[in-house]
């Protein structure tokens, strides 16, 4: 799984072999291909970009072109063991409703997102007074798809409000996993990326 992005690799390691998975915003199917090949997972995908869907189909993956904001509603309850949303939450029209959909369709959900409270973001905003443009968030505010920037602390607050259980969490900086921790210099300061395993 070395070729997978770190957040996808951690998800791939924690999906039970032989399970049913929906990868929402699956891109060109990198995670699905690994899940299918190495974990014998029945993986399905949803992707908004027709070019990416075409490449998924050409790899023999089952991917539906769709808009997660609208089309997740069409899946039946608990149709999947896991619903995965990687690096897509912050692009949703209503991330809170999308979270509800994930936990309705899947018994468990994996959600990964870039942490806007990462200390370099904070420092950049503090020093320049402008929305940070970084390696991981390289697009200017007016054209970014990330319309709902979110922090680890924000996300935990939303989960508490919704009564969603965090089964596990993982944090990454510069592509390497770091320890989490809730303290003053915990993940909300130190993590560039977060991955949560959730259930209801």
């Amino acid at each position: 799984m070395a070729e997978l992005r770190p957040d996808l690799a951690v998800i791939a390691r924690h999906v039970a072999p032989g399970s049913r998975v929906l990868d929402v915003g699956c891109g060109e199917g990198e995670l699905m291909a690994v899940l299918r090949g190495e974990r014998q997972v029945d993986a399905r995908g949803m992707e908004i970009d027709p070019g990416a869907v075409e490449r998924c189909v050409a790899r023999g993956l089952s991917v539906v072109q769709g808009d997660a904001d609208r089309d997740l509603a069409d899946y039946p309850d608990h149709a999947f063991d896991y619903a995965i949303l990687s690096q897509t939450l912050q692009t949703a029209a209503r991330p809170d409703l999308m979270l509800d959909q994930l936990l309705r369709i899947g018994r468990k959900a994996f959600v990964s997102f870039p942490n806007f409270a990462y200390w370099r973001m904070r420092a950049s905003l503090l020093r320049h007074g402008r929305m940070p443009v970084t390696r991981h968030l390289p697009v200017s505010w007016y054209e970014t798809q990330n319309i709902h920037h979110v922090t680890v602390a924000d996300f935990r607050a939303l989960l508490r409000e919704k009564g969603v259980t965090v089964e596990q969490d993982w944090f990454f900086t510069r592509g390497r996993e770091i320890a989490g921790g809730q303290g003053h210099f915990g993940a909300n300061w130190r993590a560039e990326h977060a991955v949560f395993q959730l259930s209801r």
Binding site: D42, R44, P50, V53, E54, C56, V57, A58, R59, G60, L61, S62, V63, V64, Q65, G66, D71, D74, Y75, P76, A79
Partner: protein, 377 residues
């Protein structure tokens, strides 16, 4: 297992009568087909292609009447997306058709053409006939079943009614039922045929001449629905025809085909009558109008499309085109939602192409890639 009597390399007759949705049965059903590529020893590499409304079995070989290349020769052939070096491709003329399979122009047991005595058939009846044909060929499980437009309806119907007969189902530019608008356009075509005095209540075969004018008008109306407005505008705009004397186009202040688009449609209509039987057009349009997979499979009174696919084990791929207003993307999405609800593995993509409904027949490289990937994956 249905037995059949092989007539020659490209036709057979079913031994048992075919029971139809109407309750009637049709005896001595003949199916005319073409095959391309070698059938593997285990018979596991067969792909059944269903043709569209006015198509036929000549998917990748020249049409015997027009001499034109097969209707999908850009898709089917050696090294093509449906690769006849790998797959044994079968395409049969639907029953009700006029290219060798039993239809209204065929002889009834009394030696006279069926005409309007031919029973009304459905999409499912067409599928039943071709499944019987596969039985006769000794092919149980198809590598894939593929179809565009009405061919896509046939593919979905096969998946719903004979779920163990195909490992892959590829349905392109199609729908799960005919909409009011679809039926309306077909009714215009049928009325044009029936209003032609040459139709003679369908009993025109001995008169040498049939309702060619009516059939041509039906084709003209239908042809418009196969194209996009942008496509028509780009191809013809408001440009005028050259005059017969070769001078630059000018309005005739009469009712000749002044506009290029008029001339094009008249040509399409006329050319169609050379190769198609008017009664076949009535029967096949009727079959598509009756098509509603949800009604067919849902519980009484409330059709659920997902019920049609319960027990489906095939992988599905549904493709629509953004300029197709005959079977718009929303119809494909409904199919995809139903397949998801039935937990069937399904892929869906809306491709961008300027040609309207006809995009599935034309040069759309993205379609080639999707077809190749899906069939080989």
């Amino acid at each position: 297992m249905t037995a059949a009597t092989t007539l020659d390399a490209t036709s057979l007759v079913l031994d048992a009568p075919l029971l139809l949705d109407s309750g009637q049965s049709l005896a001595g059903v003949r199916l005319a087909f073409e095959t391309y590529g070698e059938l593997a020893a285990d018979k596991g590499n067969a792909i059944l292609v269903f043709h569209a409304l006015t198509g036929d079995q000549h998917v990748a070989s020249p049409h015997p009447i027009t001499g034109k290349p097969g209707w999908w020769s850009r898709m089917v052939g050696p090294g093509k997306p449906i690769d006849t070096d790998r797959y044994h491709v079968i395409c049969a003329n639907v029953i009700g058709g006029c290219m060798g399979s039993t239809g209204p122009a065929s002889e009834d047991s009394d030696g006279q053409p069926w005409g309007m005595r031919f029973p009304v058939i459905t999409i499912r009846d067409m599928v039943r006939a071709q499944v019987a044909m596969l039985d006769a060929m000794g092919i149980h499980k198809l590598h894939a079943v593929v179809g565009g437009s009405m061919g896509g309806m046939l593919a979905l119907s096969l998946a719903a009614n004979f779920p163990d007969r195909a490992a892959r189902v590829l349905a392109i530019a199609t729908s799960w039922r005919h909409s009011a608008q679809n039926i309306a356009f077909h009714e215009v075509g049928r009325q044009a045929i029936m209003a032609d005095p040459g139709w003679r209540d369908g009993d025109y075969y001995s008169h040498g001449k049939g309702p060619e004018k009516g059939l041509a008008v039906a084709r003209m109306a239908a042809h418009i629905t196969y194209l996009s407005e942008a496509g028509l505008t780009e191809k013809f705009g408001r440009r005028l025809q050259e005059r017969p004397d070769g001078s630059q186009g000018a309005k005739s202040f009469g009712f000749d085909a002044d506009f290029q688009v008029e001339s094009y449609l008249r040509h399409q209509g006329l050319a169609f009558t050379d190769r198609f039987d008017a009664n076949s057009y009535l029967y096949i349009t009727r079959a598509t109008d009756y098509f509603d997979l949800a009604e067919e499979h849902g519980a009484k009174g409330k059709g659920s499309l997902a019920d049609a696919f319960t027990g489906a084990t095939a992988r599905f791929c549904v493709v629509s085109f953004d300029t197709d207003w005959l079977y718009p993307t929303a119809e494909s999405r409904t199919v995809v939602h139903a397949l998801n609800a039935a937990a069937a593995p399904v892929s869906f993509v809306e491709l961008s192409a300027p040609f309207g409904h006809d995009s599935f027949l034309l040069d759309v490289p993205a379609l080639d890639r999707v077809v190749t990937g899906f069939l080989n994956g």
